[in-house]
């Protein structure tokens, strides 16, 4: 570990020094302390690996891992690295295998990660082979701690990670269970994009209700998310997880729209099927966007549901993997509705395109900065939840926790 001489501005979480977005050493520490640290990382949905032997290749931080369904239906997440000479064993996104075999020298692991086959271990024609004291027990795949809840699977590199429920905390857990309520999920499809910005800007974006009322003409115009609607900001006690909750209003001017240049009263859809939401959750909320530290966003925007997984790719890029899903008992009409509303989200989404661009512009803005910091003062300087969305507290909470886990002292 390099010694990082970085100090947080004395204003605390109301400032984010620009070096967090592009410094390569900061990024290395993030990989170590955050993604390989005492966190729970999203790896997939149970329904993606329904049968024994099913596997999915994915990433935590920059490490390639394999999510595997064991023989008895149990779940494993292994580091995707042969213990012999380091080859990335699994090279398909999805599949089914009885065992995991490395192509190079065909060392073979069972689904639990135990090394069960070493060719020529006893030699050939009495010659060579592994030493007598070679013990396959010491050479199994590195396996991570795994936890599944409501059909969603998380893994941790840290064997001492706190239990997942404690990690989320009560408030966040309730919101998580709202979508993942035990019904079986159906994957509708994937989208993958490489966004040219630091991964944390994605989290900021989803924790940021401020921009939604201003940047997203589409959301504002059709009342899908707007500052003058009933809404809430919620966080866990440490500030790392968060949620933006909102209720759809009408497409009409309200108080506050004066400030919203984005409101276009005369924009009407020619094919209104695009916006034909139906209520499907017990509460009246129409949008709940939840961020689960460090790599997951759970999106419920009207009837479009998705997990968004964040995979950092150096300080200046991250990959965003969208898994759109529904419930097994969805009617065909409901499925079609979800698919249609998906037009708002993803790499070509009417709303998400704005965010991808904003993130790219931010990275372009801060990359060359030799000093300076973002200013987070909307709604005060605290890190508390709120019953409105005119605050950046949720982002402040995130950076408060971030500075802690990263071990950044304060500027003198």
């Amino acid at each position: 570990m390099t010694e990082l001489k970085k100090f947080w501005p004395k204003e605390g979480p109301a400032r984010v020094p620009y070096w967090v977005y592009s410094d390569p050493e900061v990024y290395q520490r993030e990989l170590e302390r955050i993604f390989a640290g005492p966190t729970w990382n999203y790896v997939g949905l149970e329904v993606e690996v329904p049968r024994p032997g099913d596997f999915k290749r994915t990433h935590i931080g920059e490490e390639s891992v394999v999510l595997v369904r064991g023989k008895k239906g149990d779940l494993y997440v292994h580091l995707n690295r042969c213990t012999h000479r380091g080859l990335e064993v699994c090279r398909e996104s999805f599949g089914n295998k009885a065992t995991i075999q490395c192509p190079y020298h065909q060392w073979t692991y069972d689904l639990c990660g135990n090394l069960v086959g070493v060719p020529f271990r006893k030699g050939v024609l009495g010659q060579g082979g592994m030493p007598a004291d070679f013990d396959t027990k010491n050479h199994g795949l590195t396996s991570l701690k795994v936890h599944a809840r409501g059909g969603v699977i998380f893994a941790s590199f840290d064997k001492n990670a706190v239990p997942f429920a404690n990690y989320l905390g009560e408030t966040m857990l309730k919101l998580f269970d709202r979508v993942f309520d035990g019904r079986k999920l159906t994957v509708l499809g994937y989208s993958r994009q490489l966004i040219p910005s630091n991964w944390k800007l994605m989290f900021e974006n989803i924790k940021d209700p401020y921009h939604a009322s201003l940047l997203h003409v589409f959301l504002v115009t059709f009342g899908l998310f707007r500052a003058d609607q009933k809404s809430e900001i919620r966080m866990d006690s440490m500030g790392r997880h968060g949620a933006l909750i909102s209720r759809k209003g009408e497409q009409k001017a309200g108080e506050g729209t004066a400030d919203m240049a984005s409101f276009k009263a005369d924009f009407k859809l020619k094919d209104p099927r695009l916006l034909d939401p139906v209520k499907e959750f017990p509460d009246a909320n129409t949008v709940v966007m939840q961020t689960i530290f460090p790599n997951l966003i759970v999106q419920q925007q009207s009837n479009t549901l998705a997990t968004r997984q964040i995979v950092p790719r150096g300080p200046n890029h991250f990959e965003l993997v969208w898994t759109f899903f529904g419930y097994e008992n969805d009617s065909p009409e409901m499925t079609q509705r979800r698919l249609r509303q998906a037009n708002l989200m993803g790499p070509a989404g009417l709303v998400s395109v704005d965010d991808g661009e904003a993130l790219c512009m931010t990275q372009d803005g801060v990359r060359a900065a030799r000093s300076g910091a973002a200013v987070l003062e909307l709604g005060g300087r605290d890190c508390d939840g709120a019953d409105h969305m005119v605050t950046e507290s949720c982002i402040r909470g995130f950076y408060k926790y971030y500075a802690e886990i990263m071990g950044f002292g304060e500027e003198a």
Binding site: L188, S191, F218, K264, L339
Partner: protein
């Protein structure tokens, strides 16, 4: 133009022209003319090769009608925020898959080059067009256009139609 009266070779030439005209409006930024390439109930989808092969229904973008295409255009013009970009379509390898007197199914390869603010030109995405084409009012239009893209890791956003 009557599809039924065209030889296979003439059909290919006509479809090449259609695809050229289609790409032209996108490259020239005349996006308002784009919806007219579809029938009124035309289906337009941008689908990843991954979803396509797994038969997962999700599209990157889905238009179930010409009107939905028009809504996309309006949104692009009035509702979306994005940096300037220039596209350049290379459409090649046009192949007739099947046809009867009514409709033709054709496949072609596309590569879209994109030039962003910094002035560098990059290969943006590639893939194949799977088209179902009919003749309406004397011109060819898409009854269905499925753009299956290879580029699973999309470079940021797909702002314009493919």
């Amino acid at each position: 133009m009557k599809l039924s009266s065209l030889s296979d070779r003439d059909l290919r030439l006509e479809i090449e022209s259609l695809l050229t005209d289609y790409a032209y409006v996108l490259d020239e930024g005349e996006i308002e003319k784009w919806p007219a390439f579809f029938t009124e109930q035309g289906l337009y989808k941008i689908v990843s090769r991954e979803n396509f092969e797994k038969k997962l229904p999700l599209a990157l973008w889905l238009s179930e009608s010409r009107a939905m295409c028009e809504d996309r255009v309006t949104a692009l013009r009035q509702a979306s925020v994005y940096s300037p970009r220039v596209l350049r379509h290379l459409v090649t390898n046009v192949k007739i898959l099947s046809h009867d007197g009514e409709r033709v199914r054709a496949q072609s390869n596309f590569a879209i080059l994109q030039t962003l603010l910094d002035g560098e030109t990059h290969l943006f995405i590639s893939g194949k067009y799977l088209d179902t084409i009919v003749s309406e009012g004397g011109k060819l239009v898409f009854e269905e256009k499925i753009c299956v893209y290879d580029t699973l890791r999309i470079p940021n956003s797909v702002v314009w139609p493919v």
